[in-house]
């Protein structure tokens, strides 16, 4: 309960800050909308500002938004006048599938690779390191384009742009996983290497367990904790952070929509997005910290 209250206060402060930050940004949504239609002039701008409600005082705009939220109404897009709730529900699954699918796949491969590299070293260790380095220096649009060219353009194995949803998600998930694998593999390897030096591990070896068997049995929990520590900050971009991939693969996801919304200064859209993404990250974090407490019930000194 206490946790929920704290999280609620945090979310409210965050949304208020975002509300103000959006309006600090240069660019008038009314003017931008007129420009997209090749229109201009003071008269039209005033009319458009009235229509969008940006002519009102900040406090008034804020109260309109909050009242709407209390009624369960996310408002309408400044760019298209369409209700945001419907638009977001249609786009959210795409982004979520790409982000979470990619992270999950990346975590699985990373864990396997990490175990293999700690137990045997050699190729697995090299692969883990290669993924980690590649994930840092390669730009995601480059990896996406090369995958698209190889698997679709050259070998014609999938139809990522016009196929059924599962086929369209395949390559984007692979790209996200590609960038996630290295981090997971390295953290698992390092954790296991440290476990190897712990006294209880030596004890396990003297009981007659093989090295990789002992690693699996005694290092598993520790590795999981480390994986969760890496996963938590990444959950933040599971929705909304996959714009480049969505753009390249033509997915009608939330992330590209948000980038477009930024360009149009679509305040209601961005506010609605930040509300949803904020709720998501808090819930996900709460869930992860429960998992951590369950996996490692030792007390913390300052709690």
């Amino acid at each position: 309960m206490f946790r929920a209250v704290v999280a609620g206060v945090g979310l409210a402060a965050f949304l208020l800050a975002a509300f103000l930050l959006l309006r600090i940004m240069p660019g008038d949504p009314a003017e931008l909308r007129l420009q997209r239609q090749d229109l201009g002039g003071a008269q039209l701008r005033v009319e458009m500002q009235q229509r969008l409600g940006t002519d009102q005082a900040l406090a008034e705009q804020l109260s309109v938004w909050i009242k709407g939220l209390l009624r369960g109404d996310l408002g309408r897009s400044f760019a298209s006048d369409r209700p945001l709730a419907a638009e977001l529900t249609r786009r959210l699954p795409w982004s979520f599938a790409v982000g979470m699918g990619g992270l999950a796949l990346g975590a699985m491969i990373g864990i396997v690779l990490g175990f293999a590299s700690a137990a045997r070293g050699g190729t697995a260790a090299l692969a883990g390191r290669a993924f980690a380095v590649a994930g840092q220096i390669l730009p995601s649009f480059g990896v996406a384009v090369v995958l698209l060219w190889l698997l679709a353009g050259h070998w014609q194995l999938v139809r990522p742009l016009t196929g059924p949803p599962a086929e369209r998600l395949l390559l984007p998930v692979l790209v996200v996983a590609f960038f996630a694998v290295g981090g997971f593999a390295r953290v698992v390897t390092r954790t296991l290497q440290q476990v190897e030096q712990a006294p209880f591990f030596t004890a396990a070896l003297t009981k007659g367990l093989g090295r990789s068997q002992a690693l699996r049995r005694h290092g598993g929990g520790h590795a999981m904790l480390a994986v969760l520590a890496v996963l938590t900050p990444q959950l933040g971009w599971a929705i909304g952070g996959t714009a480049v991939v969505e753009l390249v693969f033509g997915l009608p996801g939330l992330s590209v929509f948000v980038v477009e919304g930024l360009r149009n200064r679509d305040y209601p859209l961005l506010q609605a997005f930040l509300l949803i993404a904020g709720l998501w990250i808090l819930l996900a974090r709460g869930f992860v910290s429960m998992l951590v407490a369950w996996l490692d019930p030792r007390p913390r000194p300052f709690e």
Binding site: L34, P93, A104, G221
Partner: protein, 499 residues
């Protein structure tokens, strides 16, 4: 063993986070072509924003008049239009046309559509203000405009004036295709409009938005599209090497140009502006963007009112003009006057990648004359240009979208225009514009347009650089498709599958 079970539980949790995706492909019975392009209509209502343009481009909506592939204004839903002495117009409709729900196109429907769209969409009022239309008979209507115009046919060819009929299930149109499924801005499934002549020859069209040009090209290569519209020129080599594909390039009505901010020094001096115009090597620009041809005037070459003389490239003359204006070359090779260096900012915007490519080329060309150029990018070109926060501004614009030369001149070069980027107030241009507001005779309009272009060449508020070419990629099934009309008419009635 407790640790093990926890680990298992965790794996199950992570596994269940994997998206459950499914959905088998539904293979339709009818002939279907898939089209990829960078834009899809955001709405089916022509009173909203630029929906009229998008729907016309998709082959769904039609206007009363249209611009054909030679740049001529020709009747489409209309048969003819005649002016009356009081400045109003009598329009006669074709008798055989129907909306895609089967109702005939009557004068009453068209009158309602015109009045509604000019009432609700400011873009529809740009040329002649509000239109008021009343039906005289089944096929004749009387049109009066808020501001008189000598060329009502051209006004009626403007994209916001797409003719729609409102029904309970949304607007319906008259074009060769009708909307079957619609996801705004994402996807549009079109079926042949059964009431448009020769409907059986047309395939269903699955229109997809692919915002990234490189992805579009690779999708075409993968066989995902039958038609990929507006491919980046960098991808053409890859596509032309593929025997299964056909790439067609075509000139468009857009022009790449450079606005000169005449409000302050150094560009207030016409000699400096003329020097800049002379310094530009257009052939090099064309080579840099890999397609198109050097601009000869404000309009694409296929328009009757396009100027013909090639603008000269003469760096020596440019240098003389700059010397005359007091900007002399210093020991460091840079021009300066009274100790102040000649430095200009040159803007472009990423939405038109060709302009960004041209930036460093122009920078180098001006550097050769001793002019220092700072290249800059803006995400909001119209704001930057209107705020006059630039010296030189690269710009892409269709200069005669409704087949009439006055459009560009009125929008950008009349002293009080919102888009008077150059900040020019040239009485001779204003006079030409006034006369264009009266002359209805095509030959007279051509002569006036050429006069305006001569004044522009002399006073240099803007320099025309390149008439670009765009590229369309086709599968063998659409081998017969001929692109024309820029992005105003992509899906047309002659879109048929080659067997």
């Amino acid at each position: 063993m407790k640790g093990l079970s926890r680990r298992r539980a965790l794996l199950v949790v992570i596994g269940s986070l994997l998206p459950l995706v499914g959905g088998a492909a539904v293979h339709a019975q009818e002939t279907r072509v898939t089209v990829g392009q960078t834009f899809i209509a955001e709405s089916l209502d022509p009173t909203e924003g630029s929906a009229g343009w998008a729907l016309t481009s998709h082959g769904v909506a039609e206007t009363l008049f249209t611009v054909d592939r030679h740049g001529e204004i020709v009747p489409r839903l209309a048969e003819s239009i005649e002016p009356r002495d009081d400045g109003s117009w009598v329009l006669t409709l074709r008798a055989d046309r129907r909306f895609s729900d089967g109702t005939p196109v009557t004068a009453a429907e068209v009158a309602a559509a015109l009045t509604r769209v000019t009432d609700l969409n400011p873009a529809a009022r740009a040329s002649a203000g509000r239109l008021h239309a009343t039906a005289l008979s089944d096929h004749e209507l009387l049109i009066t405009s808020e501001r008189p115009t000598p060329v009502m046919a051209s006004v009626l060819a403007e994209w916001p004036l797409a003719i729609a009929r409102l029904t309970e299930r949304g607007p319906v149109f008259t074009g060769p295709f009708a909307v079957a499924e619609f996801e705004p801005g994402i996807r549009l499934l079109l079926v042949p409009n059964p009431y448009f002549p020769d409907a059986v020859r047309r395939p269903a069209v699955d229109l997809r938005r692919i915002a990234d040009g490189q992805a579009l090209a690779l999708g075409l290569k993968a066989g995902e599209f039958d038609l990929a519209f507006n491919l980046p020129s960098e991808a053409l080599g890859l596509l032309r090497a593929d025997p299964a594909l056909i790439v067609k390039s075509f000139p468009v009505g857009y022009q790449y140009m450079m606005w000169l901010n005449t409000r302050g020094e150094p560009l207030a001096d016409v000699r400096v502006r003329r020097a800049l115009a002379l310094a530009i090597d257009r052939d090099e620009l064309v080579k840099a963007i890999r397609a198109g041809r050097p601009s000869r005037s404000a309009y694409a070459d296929y328009f009757a009112f396009a100027g013909e003389a090639s603008p000269p490239h003469d760096p020596a003359a440019a240098a003389r003009l700059l010397d005359e204006a007091g900007w002399r070359v210093g020991p460091d090779g840079r021009r300066a006057r009274d100790g102040a260096p000649l430095t200009l900012s040159l803007w472009a915007y990423p939405q038109r990648p060709d302009l960004v490519t041209m930036q460093p080329v122009l920078k180098a060309q001006l550097a050769a004359l001793g002019i220092a150029v700072e290249t800059r990018l803006t995400e909001e070109p119209t704001s930057t240009a209107r705020a006059a926060a630039f010296d030189l501004m690269l710009w892409a614009q269709h200069t005669a979208p409704a087949g009439d030369p006055a459009f560009f001149l009125r929008l950008f070069l009349s002293p009080d225009a919102a888009n008077n980027f150059a900040g020019i107030d040239e009485p001779r241009l204003s006079k030409v514009l006034d006369r264009l507001g009266e002359a209805g005779e095509p030959a007279a309009r051509v002569a006036l347009a050429k006069e305006a272009q001569a004044v522009i060449a002399e006073t240099v508020p803007v320099v025309f650089l390149v008439t670009p070419e765009w590229h369309v990629g086709l599968s063998r099934r659409l081998a017969g498709y001929e692109p024309w009309g820029s992005d105003y008419y992509v899906i047309r009635e002659d879109l048929t599958v080659t067997r």
